[in-house]
């Protein structure tokens, strides 16, 4: 329960004047990454769980509803709750290889 909201002191215009350029370049980097995947030597990972989650996250960004970052975080999260029976690997992938029902997602990592 949020009871201590401070809010953003700047107007939309001020935020755009201050922050547009650095976010413009981030969007272009994503566009270039997607084009790079299209130009890749082999189209062998369209079902990779990371790319699937990435594309789903991009769709979320075009939502008109606030809370995009939380929803994007959840798309990229393991939404299962039961601890793993044993350690599978040391490092995280950045997207969940498991689906919410606990089954593995497609693709390799």
């Amino acid at each position: 329960m949020v009871t201590n909201v401070i809010g953003c002191p700047l107007t939309q215009r001020q935020l755009i004047d201050e922050l547009f350029m650095e976010h413009r370049t981030k969007v272009l980097d994503i566009a270039a990454f997607l084009d790079r995947l299209d130009r890749a030597a082999a189209q062998d990972a369209e079902d990779d769980f990371r790319l699937v989650a990435f594309r789903e996250t991009l769709r979320e960004l075009t939502s008109a509803a606030p809370g995009r970052v939380e929803r994007a975080q959840m798309i990229l999260s393991d939404r299962t709750i039961e601890p793993l029976a044993e350690l599978d690997r040391k490092a995280a992938y950045g997207a969940s290889i498991r689906t919410a029902d606990g089954n593995g997602a497609g693709g390799a990592a």
Partner: protein, 276 residues
């Protein structure tokens, strides 16, 4: 502006970094025990590590007027090894009386396994047995939500734990609310790529306020920035926030949380060499 970095792994930083942090206004920092980048083979190695954290690092920090504090544990990335965990937990009490030890940390989960959870619970029991504060690491990336939920639920179900004496660190947008709603302190980690940018950290302050929230660099041996907190200060100013509010986050809040530890003393404030 004077600030406290509540999470900095200085063992993997150079002395130059201490100097740069002091110039930028750092007056104190806390260093949780962490993963060395490889799994250590015995409790003896941890004894040497704890000795380093309680002797060498505070001396190195003091050269630049920075008060150095530490938290002790076996890091979550090594928590899968239950035998090693038992051995390391057995030696921790002999270090708890050292003058810069704040409590047990950074304990937690990595990939959220049954063994990691058992080791986490053992650390909590150790902290409670010795009346120590707790500093908690939440997992990285896709494991953060699950790991945070498992630990918050575990602690909330344990009536012995005072959430006001627990820092659940590395909060992000999808975990901060559950941490705060359960009465814990939290930290937003200013770490490139895998954690939070200064801009997103300011967003969380704007959305959730300043109560029980701190920020930290978590600088370590990876690509990270020991000056991340001053960069957060700059971002807060760029976003139109006043100096009093900024100070609440980077100084007053760490003092309020850490003052619950027996060994913490409010740092002496000093003029900042470089304006931030």
């Amino acid at each position: 502006m004077n600030y406290i970095d509540i999470h900095a792994h200085m063992i993997s930083r150079t002395t130059d970094d201490y100097e740069r942090m002091a110039i930028a206004g750092c007056v104190a920092l806390t260093e949780p025990a962490f993963w060395a980048g490889y799994d250590r083979r015995s409790a003896d190695v941890f004894a040497d590590y704890f000795d380093h954290l309680t002797d060498f690092e505070p001396k190195r920090a003091a050269q630049y007027g920075i008060d150095h504090y530490t938290w002790l544990c076996l890091n979550p990335k090594e928590g899968e090894d239950r035998d090693l965990a038992r051995q390391v937990l057995a030696i921790i009490p002999e270090f708890l009386g050292k003058p810069n030890v704040l409590g047990i940390g950074e304990i937690g989960l990595n990939r959220v396994t049954r063994n990691e959870l058992a080791t986490f619970k053992d650390h909590v029991a150790l902290a409670l047995a010795h009346d120590q504060m707790i500093h908690i690491h939440t997992p990285h990336l896709e494991d953060k939500y699950k790991g945070t939920k498992v630990m918050v639920d575990t602690l909330a179900a344990d009536g012995r734990v005072d959430p006001n004496r627990v820092m659940v660190d590395h909060a992000e947008e999808h975990t901060i609310e559950m941490i705060l709603d359960n009465g814990f302190w939290t930290g937003v980690t200013l770490y490139p790529v895998t954690k939070t940018s200064p801009g997103r950290a300011v967003d969380m302050i704007e959305r959730y306020g300043t109560e029980r929230i701190c920020v930290a660099s978590a600088c370590d041996w990876g690509p990270s920035d020991p000056l991340a907190v001053p960069r957060f200060i700059m971002e807060m100013r760029r976003r139109g926030h006043d100096e009093e509010l900024i100070r609440t986050v980077v100084y007053d809040n760490p003092v309020a949380f850490l003052s619950q530890a027996q060994h913490f003393h409010q740092p002496r404030e000093r003029a900042v060499v470089a304006a931030t």
